[in-house]
Amino acid sequence: MLAMEKGINCFFSASASNVYIYFITIAIALVVIRVSYVIYRSSKPLHTTSPQPLSTLIVLGSGGHTAEMLNLLSVLHTDSFTPRLYIAAATDNMSLQKARLFESSVIDKTGVLENAQFMQIYRSREVGQSYLTSIGTTLMAIAHALWLMIKFRPQVILCNGPGTCLPLCVIAFFFKVLGIRWSSTFYVESIARVRRLSLTGLLLYELHMADKFFVQWPQLQRKYPRAHYVGCLM
């Protein structure tokens, strides 16, 4: 009797854990399928019959990165990328000033007040900051990035390093997986990278988080075949 009871208990607990394993397996499979689908779909062009202007997030790196980004913006049809939100690191005051200057030139050209916003974002780690305190600041930076992304929900993300853009790109990818917002991320590796990608570039490339990945030197394209070689932006 006892042995039988024990056997039944065993059967039930075994089946319960089986059920758990079953559900977990299905959940993981669904997530994997969804992530693969998002990666697959991201690599394909958007097929829009009547293209509407797309809300665009522009992440400004600093000095040289910002200069390269502004060179790109100057040849872009800005009316297709509207409204625009510019984001720069909280420690970088020059970049947003330069972006404001660019936006005022756009207004001069078209005569309409474009919808452009400018914001600063916390950096996860400053140069020389200790690792212990950087855990806190990293969480702060992620929370801030998440709040900005929920508020703005961009359809296009334009970035070219350094690390400031990484949390924003990761959040955008999760929004795609969760079905919150579909967006296209474009990453242009800096002209200073000739033989090796930057850490940010490498992560975005390997994790398939950039829909289009641009490099400015042919030898990098040979090394990373999914990248597009587009010549120099400087």
Partner: protein, 215 residues
């Protein structure tokens, strides 16, 4: 008479910049008599150094030479001014040219400037650290450029860019200890102008990807 010709000769300035970095090795290299001698031999008259955060300060033995130079401008025929210069000799950056004339390479320096654009524009030769900002600012102005790579930097991806551009003959790339040899052997005529930047390929790929008509 030689003094008179000297005044009419256009100034040819060498501008050295380390940007916002600390690159004493470059400032020190430029401050050696070997480099100054090579620059003088190539016909440069002034040397302006932006030293940035570095702690090494170029030797300013030149104050008195500049004074005597002004004297020479006012009174080119007064030979006593000429004599004073000779007495300072090589240590003050003065060299006796082949015709026996005595001329000097004037040296000056500063730490920072909000914009080095004017310095770059008035320079005949630029010697720079390997930062991409300084490199492209100089190339855009079409100035001959020698990039000196800082070998003390840990992650030295910056040298990648300078070496690549040197291979394409847009600039010369060297190390601090080889700077005087680079100047001695340089042929600025062989440098190829840097082509203007073009961001339209990126914009085209993006537009096509997003379904915007490209025009």
């Amino acid at each position: 008479m030689g003094g008179g010709n000297d005044i009419l000769k256009p100034r040819r300035t060498v501008f050295v910049t380390v940007g916002s970095t600390c690159f004493d090795a470059l400032v020190q290299a430029v401050d050696t008599s070997e480099v100054k001698e090579e620059l003088f031999r190539k016909g440069y008259t002034d040397l302006l150094i932006q030293i940035g955060r570095g702690s090494y300060v170029p030797i300013k033995l030149y104050d008195r030479v500049i004074e005597s130079f002004h004297l020479k401008i006012r009174m080119p025929f007064v030979l006593s001014g000429f004599d004073i210069q000779v007495s300072y000799g090589k240590s003050s950056g003065m060299f006796v040219s082949s015709t026996g004339e005595c001329e000097s390479l004037q040296v000056d320096y500063f730490t920072y400037s909000s914009s080095i654009a004017d310095n770059l524009r008035s320079a005949s030769l630029v010697i720079s650290h390997a930062g991409s900002g300084s490199i492209f600012e100089t190339l855009r102005l079409g100035k001959p450029l020698i990039v000196v790579v800082n070998e003390d930097l840990m992650d030295n991806h910056q040298s990648e860019l300078a070496e690549e551009l040197a291979q394409r003959k847009h600039l010369l790339c060297t190390r601090p200890q080889e700077l005087y040899q680079t100047i001695g052997g340089m042929d600025l005529e062989s440098l190829v102008p840097y082509p203007p930047a073009d961001a339209t390929p990126v914009a085209k790929v993006m537009s096509r990807f997003l379904g915007f008509p490209d025009d």
